[in-house]
Every structure is written in structure tokens, then in C-alpha cells.
């Protein structure tokens, strides 16, 4: 009897609740959007680096944190928003140069696992360095993004979530144009497609690495500002990156659209699951939903939603 009641609560009631109150479902889904955007941007930075250099960049989340800390630190010292953004972007570009020179170049042609370990080292370095320079406190961040609730078509929406989604949309569009319509974009795609062939036409891999790390850093900066505006800039930002792994499994490690869609699916999905399945399971679903979904994907579609089929090259 009990098991039937449980199954009923698990498999029927949540959907009934959704059906009965679709506006609420929509509200919850949109509430997960910001988190989703965050996941998407972190995963996006990750995919860029992975495609161009084959490096599994453990430090992506910390790069988001570091960018956000630098940005808020400059704001606190009286720089206007635009100047802080510009200076932080320059800092991320400088960081890309330094990483290429001090980490990637000496380790070129090493096993992927070695490069991965190097990025773990980078993570700790950036965390420590960020703390030394900017301190370990929570920094409130307000750059004037409106946060008032709106009612659109009977659905309660936080303006901030809409802004976050719009920023993400603009960023992805700019990147798409950059990749599809410029010579550098073409070089980046070439390197992602075939390293040897890219070398044979003289594409300088070093510059490509600097560019992707810099772009990933700037994407991280945008993510960090959005997240920090909502919850303050603090070290837990880098934990968001832990969710990037399931996002990548869902979207495919080499797919830019996959990173975006995967992030949104997980952000929205875990919020919906948290709200509608808590009565049946007792909550905390947000913590494991992404991993469970990723596990399912590993079993049925290991290449992810958009990734290329994984074939061993011979």
C-alpha cells in the first residue's frame, strides 16, 4: 500500500500539480533560468578551450570567480562599471597570455591527463591569488540590473532573470558571428577540427590558445557578474563549475550549442524537480538532479545531445 502511495506521489502527483497550474510551472522554470544561464556560460568557456586545445580545464569555475572578484574589487575602488569591465577583460586576456606561456607551452604534447592536472594547479593558484589580492569576504555587487518582479500574462517573472537570459543570448550571438564570419573564427574552427591539418596551413596554435583562453575568461567574467549581482561575489561561485560536468555530458564536450542548451535544461530541470518532486522525495533534489540526468545520458547517449559520435580514430 505504502509503495503504491509513494509511486503515486512520485509519478502522478507532480504532473497533476503541473497540469493544474501551468503558470506556476512556467514561473518555476523561469526561476531556474538564471542558474541555467550560469551553467551554460561556464560550460561554454569549457567547450571553447577543450575544442581548441584538447585541455580539460578544471579551472573554468575559478576563472569565473577570479573575474568576478577582480570586477567587484575595481568597482569598490571607485572605477565606473564600464572601466571595471574593460580592465577585468584586459586582465583575463593577460591571464590567457600567461597561462599559454607558463602552463600550456611547456606541457605541449604531454598526455591530456598532465594538462588536466596542470589546470587543477591553476585552480588553486587562482583561488589563492584572488584571495590575496581581493580578500576573502562576500562582496555585494550591484551594477543596476533591475530586479523587480513583473507579471507578464499572469506569470510572475523576476526582471533580473530576463536580463540574464538576454545577456546570454547576446553573448552567444556575438560569439557565433565571431566564429562563423571572421578569419580568426575560421582558424579556431580549423584547429578544433584537425590539429595536424591546421598546423600544415600555418595556423599558429599558440595564438589560438591565447584567444580561446581569453574568450573563455571574458565569458567567465559575464557569468561572474550575473551570478554575483544575484548572490554577491563569493568563493562559492567556483562551485557552480561542478555542475558544468553534467552539463557537458548532456550537451556534448565539443558542442557550443550543446553547452548552452545543456546548461539551460539542467538549470531549469533541477528547479522544476526541486519544486514539484520535493513532496515525494523530501527535497535537496537540486543537489543531485544534474548528476542523475548526466548518468542517464551516459547510458543512452554518451556523445551528448549535440556532440559528435565518439569514434576511435585509427
Amino acid at each position: 500500500m505504502e509503495i503504491v502511495a509513494f509511486l503515486h506521489a512520485l509519478l502522478v502527483e507532480p504532473f497533476v500539480a503541473m497540469w493544474q497550474n501551468p503558470e506556476f510551472l512556467l514561473e518555476v522554470a523561469i526561476g531556474g533560468l538564471l542558474t541555467g544561464v550560469m551553467y551554460s556560460l561556464v560550460a561554454l568557456g569549457f567547450v571553447l578551450i577543450y575544442k581548441a586545445s584538447g585541455v580539460f580545464n578544471f579551472a573554468q569555475g575559478t576563472m569565473v570567480l577570479f573575474a568576478a572578484l577582480t570586477f567587484v574589487g575595481l568597482l569598490e575602488r571607485g572605477f565606473p562599471v564600464w572601466a571595471s569591465f574593460l580592465l577585468t577583460a584586459l586582465a583575463m586576456i593577460a591571464m590567457a597570455f600567461v597561462i599559454e606561456r607558463l602552463v600550456l607551452r611547456p606541457l605541449v604534447n604531454q598526455d591530456p591527463i598532465i594538462l588536466f592536472m596542470a589546470t587543477i594547479g591553476l585552480t588553486y593558484f587562482l583561488e589563492g591569488f584572488g584571495q590575496i589580492v581581493w580578500g576573502g569576504d562576500v562582496h555585494p555587487l550591484d551594477i543596476g540590473i533591475p530586479k523587480s518582479p513583473l507579471i507578464i500574462g499572469g506569470v510572475l517573472i523576476n526582471e533580473f532573470d530576463l536580463v540574464a537570459a538576454a545577456v546570454c543570448g547576446v553573448l552567444v550571438t556575438v560569439l557565433a558571428v565571431f566564429f562563423q564570419r571572421t578569419a580568426i573564427g575560421r582558424a579556431l574552427r580549423a584547429v578544433a577540427d584537425d590539429h595536424q591539418a591546421a598546423l600544415s596551413v600555418g595556423i599558429p596554435l599558440k595564438n589560438i590558445w591565447v584567444i580561446v583562453w581569453a574568450v573563455a575568461g571574458i565569458v567567465g567574467l559575464v557569468a561572474g557578474i550575473l551570478w554575483g549581482s544575484n548572490l554577491g561575489v563569493q568563493f562559492s561561485i567556483s562551485l557552480v563549475a561542478l555542475k558544468a560536468l553534467p552539463v557537458l555530458i548532456l550537451g556534448g564536450f565539443t558542442s557550443v550549442p550543446g553547452a548552452i542548451v545543456g546548461g539551460l535544461i539542467i538549470g531549469v530541470g533541477e528547479k522544476v524537480a526541486e519544486v514539484f518532486w520535493t513532496p515525494a522525495t523530501g527535497g535537496a533534489i537540486e543537489d543531485w538532479f544534474a548528476y542523475a540526468l548526466a548518468l542517464v545520458f551516459l547510458l543512452i547517449r554518451p556523445q551528448g545531445l549535440f556532440g559528435e559520435r565518439i569514434i576511435e580514430r585509427v
Binding site: 578569419a183 580549423a190 577540427d193 600555418g202 595556423i203 595564438n207 584567444i211
Partner: protein
């Protein structure tokens, strides 16, 4: 053999190259030269070290011993980027195209080094960069016309049949306006008609642009038809070097190679 008259001094000389992978000797004390404006064929049974030689020349492999002299500089090893900058272009035995990109985009990658401004400059100057892009588009379109691949200009190359992929790969190499063009089995897997087209393209490139060409080929008919000179490798050693007629009559070659069954 119209090109024969114009053949000049050596442009590239490899001296006493030895290359091994662990215990495997891919090349053993090989010396050869490639002369200006000639078509040099490198032949030999599978595993003879032909591809390895091209990889040494464009810097993918670094020989343990020997030197490479190119453009007045003697070096121990070439670097791929340097080779490309110095006018060495190549194609690959197993077609290495950017599969997700269109024919046009693939060929445009061959123009990257010809773009005057460097990458970082382009990131911040979109307007002039776009103007430059158009200029190179015109060049790419000329190659597309030359290779008669207008109809697949917008097709992602991964979807093309093998023969056409080989042609696009040649196009990408030509877009670099190379002085030295290395072709690794450009006609492998092609039917007779496709081979005739490819032979014609190779001869035309050599004739019209004076491009020096070194190619690896198994089809003896093609080799005898288009090459000015033939180098024969066997088990990593050079066993013959001369005109197609000399090589055809060479007993060492007959023993090592022509006696062995090979793809028609």
C-alpha cells in the same frame, strides 16, 4: 615533359636523414633533393618511409640525424608553422580536411598566412579585417574555378565523396600559394577519370605557377606520365634516384618494388 626545360637548382635538400620510432627505422640515412619547378615522385612499397619523409620535410617528424636545407638555411628539424610560412604546403594520405567546414571555408584557411594583419589585430579591427577577407575570397574563388568544384562551394566537406575531398585538400594547399607542394598519394582511391583530372591539375599547377611538387604515388602509369624525376625508397633506404626511364630499368627497383604486387 614541358616542365623539364625549366627545372632549376635544388630548393630543398635533405641530408643523411635517419628517423626511428622506438625500434622501427622509418628512414635510414636518406639524402635527396627537390629541384625548383620539377615534379618529383617518391615511390616505394607500403611502409617504405615515404610519408615519413614528407613529415620530416614539413616538420611533423623530427629526425634523430641529418639536416634539412631550405631557402638558404640548414636546420636539424623543420617546424610545421615555419614550413608553412616558408611556402611549403601539403596534403595528407588520409585526407585531413576540416570536416565540419564548407569547401570554401576549407580553402580560405589556406589564406590565413597571407592575411597581412595578425590575429590579435583582427580581433579589434573588424572593418578592415572584413575588407581583407573579401580580397582573399576572390583568390579562393579562383582556385575553386581552377579545380572545377564550383558546385560544392557551400557543401560541408565531410559529406563529399572521397575523390572530391582530395581535390578540396589540394585546393586548400594551393590557396597558400606554395613554392613547394607535397602531395601524399593524391590519387589513392580514385577511379581512372578522377586520376586523369588530378594529373591534369598537378601538371597545370606546375606549368602555370612554376610550383615545385613532390608527390607520393603508387600508380606507376601516373608516375611515369607526370614526373620529371623519381626517388625510390625501400625499407627506409633510398635505392634509386633518376628519370622515370632510368628508374624503370633499375634492377634494384625491379627487385624491391616493381616485382611486388601493388595497386593499379
Amino acid at each position: 615533359m614541358a616542365a623539364a626545360k625549366r627545372i632549376g637548382e635544388p630548393v630543398l635538400e635533405v641530408r643523411d636523414i635517419t628517423l626511428s620510432f622506438g625500434g622501427v627505422r622509418a628512414l635510414l640515412d636518406v639524402s635527396l633533393e627537390i629541384r625548383a619547378r620539377e615534379i618529383l615522385a617518391i615511390i616505394g612499397p607500403n611502409g617504405a618511409g615515404k610519408t615519413s619523409m614528407l613529415n620530416v620535410i614539413n616538420g611533423f617528424y623530427h629526425p634523430q640525424e641529418g639536416t634539412i636545407a631550405y631557402k638558404g638555411r640548414v636546420r636539424q628539424r623543420m617546424r610545421p608553422h615555419e614550413a608553412a610560412e616558408q611556402g611549403i604546403a601539403r596534403t595528407f594520405q588520409n585526407v585531413a580536411l576540416f570536416r565540419g567546414m564548407t569547401t570554401l571555408d576549407n580553402i580560405m584557411t589556406g589564406r590565413l598566412l597571407k592575411m597581412r594583419r595578425n590575429f590579435l589585430w583582427q580581433t579589434i579591427h573588424w572593418g578592415p579585417a572584413l575588407a581583407e577577407e573579401l580580397e582573399h575570397r576572390v583568390f579562393a574563388e579562383r582556385i575553386i574555378d581552377f579545380l572545377e568544384i564550383e558546385s560544392i562551394r557551400r557543401t560541408p566537406v565531410g559529406q563529399l565523396p572521397y575523390g572530391l575531398q582530395k581535390r578540396v585538400e589540394l585546393g586548400r594547399a594551393l590557396a597558400m600559394e606554395p613554392e613547394l607542394l607535397l602531395l601524399d598519394e593524391p590519387m589513392a582511391g580514385m577511379n581512372v577519370e578522377e586520376k586523369e583530372d588530378m594529373s591534369r591539375f598537378i601538371l597545370d599547377v606546375n606549368d602555370e605557377f612554376g610550383t615545385t611538387i613532390a608527390l607520393i604515388e603508387h600508380d606507376m602509369g601516373v608516375v611515369m606520365d607526370i614526373s620529371d624525376r623519381v626517388v625510390v625508397l625501400d625499407y627506409g633506404r633510398k635505392i634509386a634516384d633518376g628519370s622515370p626511364d632510368q628508374v624503370r630499368r633499375d634492377t634494384a627497383v625491379i627487385d624491391a618494388y616493381l616485382g611486388v604486387a601493388h595497386e593499379a
